[in-house]
């Protein structure tokens, strides 16, 4: 283990009634990183998160949180993590303020520090405006904010967020993304699972993909893109479709250009196998030939396509 790693999972396995939920899973999250945890339903994400949160016991392997083994020092581990489960328990007749006050008491936050910490968290999550509103009347988005606030009450160093964006509308998702980014900037390590892959692509430094309980891929999104699609593919779009045939001929004559194919709305796609540093020269030559180029961009694999390609390579 290195001092720079906040969460280390080594050879983790867990069985439920004979079914292997997690299969020799290993990965490590550096301090201050945001790691997206992706996998099909039933892949073992929640089980892994619950094990890291000391709510389940592994059958094999070990998990270290901030250097502490979850089986050796579970009490300390619990104090240093913030866990946001995929379910949200509503207490009738409690306000947002009461709710956080209750959890702050449960975590035995010093009574002198408690009011300041609660108001700071509410301000951060934007709940300060509705502090006196009853919890059961909150929208899904607000409930998730409250759930996140609860996870922050003990000022954790590691946040484990299980499906925090599930069921949120686009506005709430964007706001939630900002909050996660902001928490990462504060130095918290965040381990987040989600099925909304576009969100993860934007906020995560690392992506861990699992299937059938086993690790399929782990690394940065850019690394995954590169490993799945080593060739650079570009799209060129002209003002009108008139010059497309000429452009196609032009491209086919250039060295390194392959797989030229017409696309939608007067565009052409091609693969470039040469050095990427030669691309500006190719573009200026194209313009010099009189092609009215309005768009020239490198095609990138989306998070969804990366995920599909990794989990269903033949699909």
């Amino acid at each position: 283990m290195t001092a720079g790693e906040m969460l280390i999972v080594e050879g983790l396995s867990k069985r439920f009634d004979g079914v292997l939920a997690v299969d020799r899973l290993s990965f490590a999250l550096p301090r201050g990183s945001v790691c997206g945890f992706v996998g099909p339903n039933g892949a073992g994400k929640t089980t892994t998160m619950r094990i890291a949160a000391t709510l389940e016991e592994p059958d094999a392997g070990q998990v270290l949180v901030d250097g502490m083994n979850i089986l050796e020092e579970p009490y300390k581990v619990r104090r240093s993590i913030g866990f946001m489960p995929d379910h949200f328990g509503v207490y009738p007749d409690l306000t947002c303020q009461d709710y956080l006050e209750f959890y702050a008491r449960a975590y035995e936050v010093n009574p002198r520090v408690r009011p300041g910490r609660i108001s700071a968290i509410m301000e951060f999550t934007g709940l300060d405006r509705i502090a006196e509103k009853k919890v059961e009347t909150l929208s899904k988005g607000m409930k998730q904010r409250l759930n996140l606030s609860r996870a922050l009450v003990n000022d954790p160093v590691l946040l484990i967020l299980d499906e925090p964006a599930a069921g949120l509308d686009p506005h709430a998702r964007i706001e939630f993304r900002y909050m996660v980014k902001s928490l990462a900037e504060q130095g918290k390590t965040i381990f987040i699972s989600s099925h909304i892959l576009a969100d993860l692509g934007e906020i995560c430094d690392l992506i861990l993909i699992i299937d059938n309980g086993a690790r399929v891929s782990f690394g940065s999104f850019a690394q995954m893109q590169e490993s799945l699609s080593p060739e650079a593919r570009f799209t060129v779009r002209l003002v009108s479709g008139d010059g497309l045939e000429g452009l196609e001929r032009f491209l086919l004559e250039r060295p390194g250009v392959q797989k030229v194919a017409p696309g939608l709305n007067g565009s052409i796609s091609f693969t470039y196998t040469g050095e990427l540093s030669e691309i500006p020269a190719l573009l200026s030559e194209m313009l010099g030939q009189g092609f009215a180029v309005v768009e020239f961009r490198q095609e990138a694999m989306t998070m969804e396509s990366v995920f599909l390609k990794i989990t269903k390579p033949n699909g």
């Binding site: 949160a53 000391t54 709510l55 016991e57 009490y75 328990g89 009461d98 209750f102 959890y103």
Partner: protein, 476 residues
């Protein structure tokens, strides 16, 4: 002060005071109490001793209010269990005792609130006549003392109804147990205690109260154990308290004639709760995976004191600790048998006749737990399949009961031999326990001990078999 700073107490009381039920219950109780007083007094003007009627009516009111609080507490706990909020409390580092203690304290607070609404009306009864001050005070004391047990029962039923670890059989048995203990306790305090064999009446009170407190404590730890069976356990205090309760029943309760532990008329039923407790707790302790939950293991490692480590070893969570505890219970029964039968002379014989014999039924519960378990140890197919083992054990019991029923109805067994049917099934042991005329248990405490030794031997044999298989390179 520690109770007042409990987070769950804060949450639950805040919820309750803000909720609609609070106002409805509070003003409802006040209104009904006032209405009862007025209607009885105005309806029977001039009649003497009206206080008795008002007093009875108010007691029903208070009882109903206690029931309402218990039901609300039950529903709240069920909801929390379903929402898995207990997990979040666990993550906060809150102990299981604080969780259950907080819930109990908040429910008790709610009850006390209503209780003080009715108390002024109770004293109005005294003014009306027909009831004494001491009976009012005694009733108030019974309510205050019985409330924790009642409220704990409601929490327990909420937790047990949602946990997957307990079968419907276990739940039904526990409810039956709860129903039996309350009247026994109430009877013990309300009817003037009798001295027995020269023991002072206050001895009856003390032993009854001690037993009651232990039952409450046992229920409390049972609730704790049900909160998070996969990560934590309170098996150690449960086993310890159960053993202590059993010893107390035999050594204090029975000779003292405490109603909780058995007056002459309630002697058989009084041992039924213990019979059930031993049977049910043993059933879920003996036939379960050998592993100890994570948090219990960590606590064990942290114990520094040698004495505590030894106590922990003896009553440790898991089947091994359960077998040791059951063995200790059998040993206590044997000692009591010896003490009462040989050492005390005529007084001891009277003590034995009063309570010793029915309590031998408990050793039969142990026999029925250990004997089939020992047999099943020899079946490799059942290894690590605890549910299957439990199911087979239940089939043993049911078949034994059917066989015993046939033997009795065909008069194959009759007269003094009737006690032998207790060997066939725990259901028949209960039959023997409740059959006052034929209450006989062949072999005293020894069948239970013998069955435990048999179980232990079979477990050792299985271990050796595994060792041989491991040496031979076969998967065990």
């Amino acid at each position: 002060m520690a109770v007042l700073s409990n987070a769950i107490l804060y949450k639950d009381t805040t919820q309750w005071l803000r909720g609609r039920f609070f106002a409805a219950l509070f003003f409802g109780l006040l209104g009904v109490s006032e209405f009862l007083c007025l209607s009885i007094v105005l309806g029977a003007e001039g009649q003497e001793g009206l206080g008795r009627y008002v007093f009875d009516a108010l007691n029903y009111c208070l009882g109903f209010y206690l029931l309402c609080v218990a039901v609300m507490g039950h529903n709240m706990a069920v909801k929390e269990f379903e929402n898995r909020t207990f997990e979040l409390y666990e993550l906060s580092g809150m102990s299981l005792e604080k969780m259950v203690g907080g819930k109990l304290a908040s429910l008790f607070y709610q009850f006390v609130f209503g209780f003080f609404c009715v108390v002024p009306f109770l004293f109005f009864c005294f003014y009306l006549g027909g009831t004494s001050f001491s009976s009012i005070a005694r009733t108030a004391a019974v309510f205050l003392l019985a409330a924790p047990y009642f409220l704990l029962s409601s929490l327990f039923s909420a937790l047990i109804s949602r946990t997957r670890a307990v079968s419907s059989f276990g739940r039904a048995a526990v409810f039956a147990l709860m129903v039996i203990v309350v009247p026994l306790f109430a009877e013990g305090l309300l009817i003037l205690p009798r001295g027995f064999l020269g023991f002072m009446p206050w001895w009856t009170w003390i032993s009854g109260l001690a037993g009651y407190l232990l039952v409450c404590l046992l229920l409390f730890y049972l609730c704790c154990s049900l909160v998070s069976p996969s990560t934590d356990s309170r098996e150690l205090p449960i086993k310890f308290i159960l053993t202590l309760l059993y010893a107390l029943m035999l050594l204090l309760g029975v000779p003292a004639g405490s109603s909780l532990f058995g007056t002459s008329s309630l002697l058989g039923p009084a041992s039924v709760p213990v019979f059930f407790l031993v049977l049910i707790l043993g059933f879920f302790s003996v036939y379960r995976p050998a592993g100890v939950p994570l948090m219990a293991r960590v606590r064990k490692r942290k114990r520094r004191s040698r004495i505590l480590r030894a106590v922990f070893w003896f009553f440790e969570p898991g089947p091994a600790g359960a077998v040791r505890t059951l063995f200790l219970i059998c040993a206590i029964t044997a000692l009591h048998d010896l003490w009462a039968g040989r050492l005390l002379g005529p007084v001891g014989i009277a003590v034995k006749a009063r309570g010793g014999t029915p309590f031998l039924g408990v050793s039969y519960a142990i026999f029925h737990l250990a004997f089939p378990g020992g047999l099943l140890m020899a079946v490799p197919l059942l290894e690590r399949r605890n549910n299957l083992v439990r199911a087979v054990c239940m089939v043993f019991w049911v078949m034994g009961a059917v066989l015993a029923g046939m033997l009795l109805s065909l008069h194959v067994i009759s007269g003094s031999e009737k006690g032998l049917v207790a060997f066939l099934s725990p259901f028949m042991s209960m039959y023997a326990l409740l059959d006052f005329t034929q209450r006989q248990f062949a072999g005293g405490p020894w069948p239970g001990m013998a069955a435990l030794v048999f179980l232990w031997l079979m477990a050792r044999m299985r271990e050796r078999r595994h060792g041989r298989m491991a040496k031979a390179g076969e998967p065990s």
